[in-house]
């Protein structure tokens, strides 16, 4: 049993030293290099006096430095915090300040921005990595010096509940929330993943998500732990999905993993038929529901693949997995979120926190080895998101409240029905916005759809939907309104359907609800719902 995320890296570096651990553009980083460079970096971090648990910012565009910084931080017993190079400096300064960050590891192109962030944060924080310090009064250690050491490195004393990383997500209030994970919770998640999805030394994974999005940990942790190679996709390849087919073909990618929106972009606009995708064994999505029709087109485009639906908010990591084979995909109308991993348990409760019977809808609460340690600096929110129960033998069990509405069947398979907070009341009726989205997504003419609620000028709550049409479709909003009247009750139909050439996306390529609100806000006579 592994205790730390970096436990197996040394062994892989001995058994397969020359094999690429990471590939980016035309450059590779072998397992030996990843191991040696991260050892050297860890030794430097220790020599600089960074103590166990110190927070280290990892501030890069996609590159081969990212995995070295991640494993260097882990081996130094520090806690890494991914920083988004596309985020505004104020937001990043807030993260640096609230975590009292000790150092930011970065590159030449981001050195100036790193200095600005630190200045705004008011924290005494080192900048490591750039060739020269942007602020000439400060000293820095260049990347080549950071990773140059060749002395044998011994990791300091640590325990598996030490924080490995903190991921900041944009909370609904706008203030970023730092989700804390330890080596143990991260390994708990890999255990759940690997229980259902076999990943081995012959595999080639593709990192499509950026490090700031926890889905990328499938590759950044999964690759080095399992000894598989990881191809890091460039931002431009992710934004222009016709680049992906040739990338997968060139490197023989065998494991595809992304949010559903990116998979759909690739299938609908990325000409997957032009590339040889026969090496792909697994198509994995998570973070949002995938429409059943897209599952079928994915398995058509990748004929040797099985599909895995990874479920779990960042707070729990992926804690539930559903596997669907090609043979089973035909009769599915909606994709379940699957069964909980071994050693984890689901509790489904109603509005009064009382367990509901099997088959009935309620909020999913999760007890699993992969559940976060809590939110950084927010002890008071602990009670709201965790639920305590006395299990068999009077043992106290802690469950994380996901805010997701689910149903469980007799065989233990969970079905996702929507967000508790995406449940709106329209003219007194309860409407699941996710159900509205699903109804639009089920239309052949629709590639992707998103629904939000907003207030009209006369202050009534109504539903707006944005739609990206399938290639070649010439349908109009009126046709879609008519189609919705066939499948949804009148109160649940969108009053406004906007056909767009592309939907607004977040950094992780999910549909941006805030971006949608802005679009609907621009409509005369409508005010944004607060």
């Amino acid at each position: 049993m592994m205790a730390f995320l970096d436990d197996t890296l040394g062994a892989h570096a001995v058994v397969q030293p020359e094999k690429p651990a990471f590939i980016f553009k035309d450059k590779t980083l072998s397992f030996a290099e990843l191991h040696d460079h991260s050892d050297a970096l860890a030794a430097q971090l220790r020599a600089l006096g960074l103590e166990r648990g110190a927070r280290i910012g990892v501030f890069f565009y996609r590159s081969l430095e990212v995995p070295v910084a991640v494993f260097g931080s882990l081996k130094a017993a520090t806690t890494f915090v991914p920083l988004d190079p596309h985020a505004p400096t104020e937001r990043l300064a807030h993260i640096v300040n609230s975590t009292d960050m000790s150092a930011i590891i970065t590159s030449d192109v981001l050195a100036t921005k790193a200095e600005e962030i630190i200045q705004k944060s008011g924290v005494d924080c080192l900048v490591l990595g750039p060739t020269e310090a942007a602020d000439t009064c400060k000293k820095t250690i260049s990347w080549s010096e950071l990773v140059a050491g060749s002395q044998r490195y011994v990791t300091p004393d640590r325990v598996d509940t030490d924080l490995a990383y903190i991921i900041f997500t944009s909370g609904s209030t706008g203030e970023p929330k730092g989700i804390m994970h330890s080596h143990r919770t991260a390994l708990g998640y890999l255990d759940t993943l690997l229980e259902r999805i076999d990943i081995g030394r012959d595999d080639v994974m593709c990192a499509l998500s950026p490090l700031i999005f926890d889905m990328s940990l499938n590759e950044y942790f999964g690759g080095p732990v399992c000894g598989a190679s990881v191809v890091i996709a460039a931002d431009g390849q992710v934004k222009l999905p016709a680049s992906l087919g040739p990338l997968f073909e060139k490197h023989g990618v065998s494991i595809y993993c992304s949010v559903p929106s990116l998979l759909v972009s690739f299938l609908e606009r990325g000409s997957p038929e032009n590339a040889d995708l026969s090496a792909i064994r697994w198509v994995l999505t998570g973070g949002e529901p995938l429409a059943a029709k897209h599952l079928r087109s994915a398995l058509d485009a990748m004929p040797n693949a099985q599909y895995g639906n990874l479920y779990g908010p960042t707070e729990t990591n992926s804690c539930s997995v559903e596997v669907i084979t090609r043979e089973n995909s035909d009769n599915i109308s909606s994709i379940p979120i699957g069964r909980m991993g071994r050693n984890s348990r689901a509790l489904i409760i109603d509005e009064n926190d009382v367990s509901v019977p099997v088959g009935e809808t309620g909020e999913l609460c999760v007890q699993a080895a992969s559940v976060m340690m809590g939110y950084w600096g927010k002890t008071e929110s602990k009670d709201i998101v965790f639920l305590e129960r006395y299990g068999p033998g009077g043992v106290k069990e802690t469950y994380y409240r996901t805010g997701d509405q689910v149903r469980i069947n007799e065989s233990g398979t969970l079905h996702y029905l929507g967000r508790t907070d995406r449940l709106v009341k329209i003219r007194g009726y309860r409407v699941e916005l996710d159900e509205v989205e699903a109804a639009l997504n089920a239309q052949d003419d629709v590639a992707e759809a998103a629904a939000i609620s907003f207030c009209t000028a006369d202050n009534t709550l109504t539903i707006g939907a944005a739609v990206l049409l399938s290639p070649g479709s010439e349908t109009c909003a009126d046709d879609l309104h008519r189609a919705m009247s066939d499948v949804l009750p009148s109160y649940a139909r969108p009053s406004l359907i906007e056909i767009l050439p592309e939907l607004p996306r977040t950094a992780s390529q999910k549909i941006s609800r805030r971006g949608l609100e802005e679009i609907f806000q621009n409509h005369q006579g409508f005010n944004n719902a607060q």
Binding site: G236, A242, R505
Partner: protein
């Protein structure tokens, strides 16, 4: 050609940004997937070409220089 491409990128991006000829316009965040769609349509109109979907790749559109090279090949 380069200045026209820069102009189209600036209008499509909808933000003030001085595009350098060899800058990776998709990496720095100046162009996201929505503005990329707008930029492709504007390039088609400005240069009177049809850009096949399969050629809308990172390789062809990563920088002002790359776009110019690609369009030259398309026009010839």
């Amino acid at each position: 050609m380069h200045s026209k491409i820069r102009e189209i990128l600036t209008v499509s991006a909808g933000i003030k940004h001085a595009f350098q000829d060899d800058e990776d316009v998709l990496e720095t965040g100046a162009i996201d997937s929505m503005s990329a769609v707008r930029a492709i349509a504007a390039l088609e109109e400005a240069f009177e070409v049809k850009i096949p979907a399969v050629e809308v790749t990172y390789e062809n559109f990563q920088s002002v220089n790359a776009i110019a090279n690609y369009l030259k090949g398309l026009i010839d």
